[in-house]
Symmetry: C2
Subunit: 172 residues, 2 copies
């Protein structure tokens, strides 16, 4: 089931004749202090707590905007999960005060949900545009952005945005 029965190697990076690699590698290899290391993993666990919620409110906002309404069926189809799963997650979104709806009816975002959707959307757009500006193909950029977006700090977002702007002005 897990796709790890056999491993390939990443690119040709090990045998490329570059002078800077040993220096850089040893720097990357040094273990950070234990507590700082723990904070890295904690940040990741933290992101995992909200990322599904973010994707849901973002998708609901998109559906409301582009489709006029946000039905569970569409969410299930777009997320690639069963309707039962959507139903349960929506219950959670409601209990968190992000979504509102009457039973068997279309979904809406609360103020809080809209705020979250706006933030997530901005962040998602910045990451996606950055990847495209870097030269990543649209298809792959979309896939990578969907996961990366939840793990990019504000500092990095700012830098990505600046990079994208410079890249665009260069090619105009």
């Amino acid at each position: 089931m897990l796709p790890y029965e056999h491993f390939g190697y990443i690119g040709a990076m090990t045998d490329s004749p570059n002078e800077v690699t040993p220096d850089r590698l040893s720097q990357a290899d040094a273990l950070p202090p234990s507590d700082q290391h723990a904070q890295q993993y904690a940040a990741v666990r933290n992101a995992h707590e909200t990322e599904l919620l973010e994707d849901y409110v973002e998708l609901i906002a998109d559906l409301l905007e582009h489709q006029g309404e946000a039905r569970s069926t569409d969410i299930a189809a777009r997320m690639g999960v069963s309707q039962a799963t959507v139903s349960k997650t929506v219950t959670r979104l409601k209990s968190l005060g992000l979504v509102s709806s009457k039973p068997y009816r279309s979904l809406f975002l609360t103020e809080k949900g809209e705020a979250m959707a706006a933030m997530s959307n901005q962040r998602h757009a910045i990451v996606l545009q950055f990847l495209r500006a870097l030269g990543v193909s649209d298809r792959i950029a979309r896939i990578d952005a969907e996961g990366m977006e939840h793990h990019v700090s504000q500092e990095t977002l700012d830098i990505m945005q600046r990079f994208t702007r410079e890249q665009e002005s260069r090619s105009s």
Copy 2:
């Protein structure tokens, strides 16, 4: 408990006077075809299945290299979780054939575990070096890399690596 009682906004991106934004934004806003969209989320779910395993084998490899042995205590401290959690996860790693150990003894990687650790380490290093080359501070780069690494495809990795190399040769 969830950090979403109140929202700020990301930077000052909405009111910045740039000409290219509306064009780009509408492009980002268009919903992709339903099945492609579903594949994006599926890729993320997929990454989530292996990311903890990857972090574990990577950490075990690091500890073996830098400390000589990999004890549960160190893993628990570095991951910022309880020893019980480590014990349970290690059981899973063993059942997947990634780790081997005798009860109450230090941990080792199997061939498969070493292959996974090597892959993960390379990928992690590429992402970290890329973020630093972009201009992200070391501390933040480490945090972001810890999460991003699991959501970066081969195409993007190659581009990141090229960027890092060019950046380095430019500043030499």
